[in-house]
């Protein structure tokens, strides 16, 4: 729920608008949910690239003076979550380098399954690495000598990397948007005032007043320059996509549209399906806000049980309160959510959330509800149990920390102290997608991995997951 898992990144790019940098800043702001630990922008005046990166929220990293210094008509930006204990500035993106052809900057969302193998090869040949991110490996690939022109070098490079990746690549006179052949992570193209913008999610287009054009296609490298768009295909054609279903369930903003459909409506359908799979006699349905909002609505509509608000969220809770909270030992108090007694006391309540990962915060919320005195608590989760690691960019905790690891649902229900518990089935979940179920990756639920992982890398990933965390 909410604070337990974190995806790696958000991307935003603008081609040729006078206030491209300001727009990128705003675009990153709307993608802040995809990464709160760092942000960066690289801009181009068609001759040189400029960079500003920092740790923290977008609004903390960029002051107006920084935006002023970056001011240029072409720009890409990145928000990231760092998995290592202390987030380091070195890993901030986009990475900007000098190489034989000039300058190039790369921003990346995803995880490469062959990054370690490639890194070893580069190191063996004498290369140095200043970050621990996959992105630097991509830059090394692009910088290899022997390509007569930029596009050839980039296409050859993206051909060699495997796994989940969306990239924005910027050279002084070219912006390239790349999506891996399986289409794990989202990336879309929009237009604004006669020019182009690229964003991880459509909500960023909406909030800037840009019009959605289309998604970047799996296996597409879209080159944008002063001559317009040039779309190139790379990688072996895949029979099916492997879009991350967890993006739709959890990460994406509900006001985004993935694969042409509203995330909010999809989640509502999950809630309806959940009501069909796990009906219950109850007096009231309410979500864990805001993660469960859409699904709870669906559950209420399908079941006919009235929807209400049993939890109220404090909007001022943010990172600013982390310190004092962490120091809290003696008293176990949740400053973020309060309960509404009248909605809960003596009632049979259905609580809906979008997921349960480690279960730590869920335990606490159920305990908080119990104290108010409901007659029964029925927990409904609008996705299946998470039992497998993700090798494509979602930063789940280690397998041992997953509450569903090695536990039956009734055992989990007991741990959480709920009267009944229902997880959506994999089939039920897949029945809600607007297109082909086969076009989705659901490895975290099913263990069915669409992309082969280098065995050495897997071992290492399982042992040192943080070291691999890309972005």
């Amino acid at each position: 729920m909410g604070s337990e898992i974190h995806e790696a990144c958000g991307l935003f790019g603008v081609w040729n608008l006078p206030d491209a940098v300001e727009l990128t800043f705003r675009g990153l702001f709307t993608l802040q949910h995809r990464g709160q630990e760092g942000a960066g922008i690289v801009s181009s005046n068609r001759e040189r690239l400029r960079s500003h990166r920092g740790l923290g929220l977008v609004s903390e990293v960029f002051k107006s003076a920084d935006l002023e210094l970056l001011k240029n008509p072409i720009s890409i930006g990145h928000v990231r979550y760092s998995t290592a204990g202390s987030p380091t500035l070195q890993n901030a993106q986009p990475i900007l380098v000098d190489y034989w052809r000039g300058q190039v900057a790369v921003a990346h969302n995803g995880t490469l399954v062959n990054a370690q193998v490639l890194r070893r090869e580069f190191e063996a040949a004498g290369s140095i690495f200043q970050t621990t991110s996959d992105t630097e490996t991509i830059v090394h690939l692009i910088a290899r000598p022997g390509f007569s022109e930029n596009r050839a070098a980039i296409l050859d490079s993206v051909q060699r990397i495997k796994g989940a990746f969306c990239l924005l690549i910027l050279t002084p006179r070219e912006l390239v948007a790349v999506r891996d052949p399986h289409g794990f992570r989202p990336l879309c193209l929009g237009t604004l005032e006669g020019s182009y913008v690229v964003a991880s999610e459509t909500c960023a287009l909406d909030l800037l007043g840009a019009k959605f054009v289309r998604e970047i296609k799996p296996g597409e490298a879209l080159f944008i320059d002063d001559w317009g768009l040039d779309s190139r295909r790379f990688g072996e054609p895949q029979k099916q996509r492997a879009q991350c279903i967890f993006e739709k369930i959890y990460f994406a903003r509900p006001d985004s549209r993935l694969n042409g459909e509203s995330v909010h409506l999809f989640r509502q359908r999950l809630g309806r399906q959940l009501a069909r799979e796990y009906p219950v006699e109850a007096d009231v349905v309410f979500p864990v806000p805001d993660s469960g909002n859409s699904a709870a609505q669906g559950y209420a509509l399908e079941s006919g049980i009235p929807l209400d608000q049993g939890f109220i969220r404090n909007h001022y809770v943010g990172r600013t309160f982390i310190d004092p909270d962490a120091k809290d030992r003696g008293r176990k108090v949740n400053m973020k959510l309060n309960t509404v007694e009248e909605v809960i006391r003596g009632k049979r309540i259905v609580v809906v959330d979008d997921s349960v990962v480690r279960g730590v915060t869920t335990v606490e919320k159920i305990r908080q509800l119990r104290e108010v005195g409901p007659k029964e608590i029925h927990l409904r989760v609008s996705c299946p149990p998470i039992r497998n690691p993700c090798f494509y960019g979602i930063d789940f905790p280690t397998k041992e920390e997953l509450i569903a690891n090695g536990r039956e649902v009734h055992e989990i229900a007991k741990m959480l102290d709920v009267d009944s518990m229902g997880y959506l089935s994999v089939e039920g979940m897949l029945s809600c997608v607007p297109d082909e179920p086969m076009d989705y990756c659901h490895a975290c639920f099913s263990g069915n991995y669409p992309v082969q992982i280098d065995p050495k890398q897997t071992k290492e990933m399982l042992e040192h997951p943080a070291d691999l965390k890309c972005d």
Copy 2:
């Protein structure tokens, strides 16, 4: 809506707990919605008082080192909204002074109607004023010579002030909670670990794990010291209360209980009543989040029209984004709310909000909805038109700025570009209160002022409303 109006203050106090200051910090944090411009804490070790105050959010004003320096078993705190152009530190509260009897600190929520008269009297006698707040006048009253003991001085002082006020008064060995005889603003007593806490709203008790005991009674001065509680009455007994109904409609957190009843449920009832007064044929109901959430729920339940989410709120929007937003001239874009096209396009939609004050942000939201292409927009507001100034502590804009000033509802509907508009009636609103309608102040809607205002002060207030702004 949301950012248009601001009340002056929130109060929190703790008697005799080892971590009183940390608790007060947390208490203020939960009351942050009552004032975001400044915060302060004064604590006592039973011999001396210590103070720390500053501008900004609670989490910005207090660093752990500040809390460490304040560490004492008795503590009061205050959050405030400053109405003057640039908030000034001088006006921060609690005010702490030396006087002939020793030290006293006062924190205040409300507005005195005779503050200016009293201030003139004090100034004429040679007193100096270092702030523009009513609170300093109260301190001058308490400091007058001639009282044999503290309680007499305090009781005489609160007798002399008129208007809306909740006070926390701290001397080294005594904490006093005061509520004016009309009970305009809320103030409640709780217990925690065998001792007492006082808070503007019950949500602060809940979130700290304290138990609600009772509200401070109108006309009560509750003295808390090492001998326990001592409740004193002051002021002429009032036939009826004048509880601010706008607190219930707008200011209080929905998870608070006012006068023993859930604010959320009251707002739901307002929504139901609104559905009865202004029914409409429609496909979907949704709130302006989060201010309209409860009322929209009530409207949906009563009308049978399905509730959905047409607006999605960006949780990262905060004060940090104010600057860039303000600079935005060319593009009119709302970074805080996005729309969900599927919920809106081609539909007859009912949008519910808790209030419309100046109407500026409402105009923009309706415009944003229109762009998505609904068939019809029906705006429902869960309170009557606001047409009169508040002299008791709510910082409305000047009369000229109120959208309902001198306009009929159909004119407002036209300005806002909605197909129909419904404001709740005063009678309908009063029919939803859980107790006696006569016990509420609704002057901002009805023009019916329960407390006489000094005519000179009124004139001044109307001319220079900001100068009077209490706190």
Copy 3:
């Protein structure tokens, strides 16, 4: 030496120049040595006063945005040193208040000997005090009713206060510069671009390009307004002045002129006199930089012993290094001064400083010199032993902490581990002043106090010196 004692304040004012506030900022900057703990500016647009105050160095307190907000043609400013453990913002100056006549701001340099008595009287009459500074007492005096006009009120007020004081008083249309009848602290008038500036020291005039006009006379209240200057006399005429000789020896910048004469030259004369009183056979003379620079020069010139640099000062040592330094336990290292071995080793050295107060840092410096291996160390101090508290504004440590308290010079020499030690005699010191020796206060050396102290206040001052510390 340097960091051991601190005077209370510096004053700067500008009448009617377009960039008065910027000039005041710069003026305070040049007076930074008179107080590093806080700074404040109040400015006037002839109708209202505006204030900005804060803790820290002038350059930390005022950002360009603050100066912009203050922008007005009339301005006064203050730098202060706070003696209490943690400096508090409440005590920052100038103090700005509203009173019956309007607004007034006061900035003060000195200490009143009857402040406590007056404060008690005001408190007994019901007044409240929000600071612990003498200045607030002065403001209460000015605010008393019954005076037909401003000047009468101010003249009556300054008549009633006793002790050492220089004041800048600002009302919307008048700036008043006041110096006590004994003339303890310096205050001078200058002209700049056809208008007036007032400053504690002449160096502030020089560095702003202003021309020195004259000192404010003891017992003068100089009113500056749009009609020009109006000089008024107050207090009983004194037969002699009581200028603080410690200002000339220690506090004032060497590039200032006090009573018409260069501070640097005066200190050089002290060094010459010191050489006559305490000659010694030696190879080299050098100062403790920079406090002993001028006197060491005088000593070298008079004695014929070559002047050199035995100590080199690190210019980057500042407050920023206080923390790490304080944490240093195991290693006793002085980061501020280094020695030049070639100047010291095997030599008979004369070290000259301007004063020895507690002796703590002197002990350390001598130890540092000893480690380099000089043949002999002869310490010469260009003032007499400090054995008495100052009641007029110099913040000496308590009597017990003074190294010269109850010790003969040979005992001090032994404590400090020097081969010989010479303090300048009181007579020798007074022989160096350019005017009448009787016109100086040297109570800290001689115990001869020129102004009667209220006995109650004295007792209190001796017991709680910090509480009295004015500013």
Copy 4:
């Protein structure tokens, strides 16, 4: 003078002391004069390296929490000056990278004359560069494959770089101090509590209580590990050294010892020689403080003209005042230096400074002196005219900006408005060194460059000096 030129860097390293990081912090602090734009520390726990770098002064970059995180027994640090318009974090040092053998960090003081050539070679082979500093080139060299062990790789690498360089190289278990075969820049070894420290200047040893052992020899790579010291020679043996004489004249702290001799005494000798070369009838000699202090002393001693202080420096002037100063248009005022009228007016004065580079600040100081009314001004400069660029690490302005470029001394005197001017001769300067004049580089004065510069690089350096500026 003072603020006109800046050298690139200072180095400090500690081997195996419990508080190595704290010591490195302090060491950098004492070397702050060698670079104020950025600082960094990398430490080792013998397994992994940790890094913290930032922009600003040492005391700004490192907070106690940063030092705590770095806490390790082995540590190297760096202070730098960035020549580019806006200093960038990317160029901060030490650079820390991963490569095939593990981790390595490099800190560099100097400039390589073949850096660009090497960089081109690396880029042609596909390497990427994330900084514009020479240091990254060195890291690429060390990371090349094919060396059986670390020392071989490092020795081969330092063999291949040409120019001026002192390096500290850190791997998890080894600290290496390297000085180029000409010995351009200083680097010395000390002992502290049984272990080793390395520093750019001896003052850093003194101030930490470490004992000086010896200088790192030109062409020496000194490996320090748990087995002790291992000194290796590299590069072709040079017939003579090329120690930078400008370090002795200008950069080094006067309390440092270079090549075994006090910098202060050397500068005093320069002053004496200057008095012999350019004697004058005058009343007083004084320095531009503090840069001219030692030389002015020498001039006074040799000439018999009394030494005094005509300028007084404000110790609070620092970077904090840069902004307001820069904004100052109308009034041309020097906030840093004030004059002492009595020393100057009507006198024949000799002003001594250590150098005149662009002459901008000198013009202003002379103007300031003129205003006080001296009879004559005689400017004496304790080095020859600077007429040539430095390719070995001193960041002079471009040739066009040098005041001595294309001007005879009498022309310069006229520009500066002095009655006479004397620059020390090259021969006179060299006659003051304690060892062989041939062992010094004085190319900036004589145009005699001891190390061949790659012609392409020279051209580029002359055209884009900033891009080359290493650090």
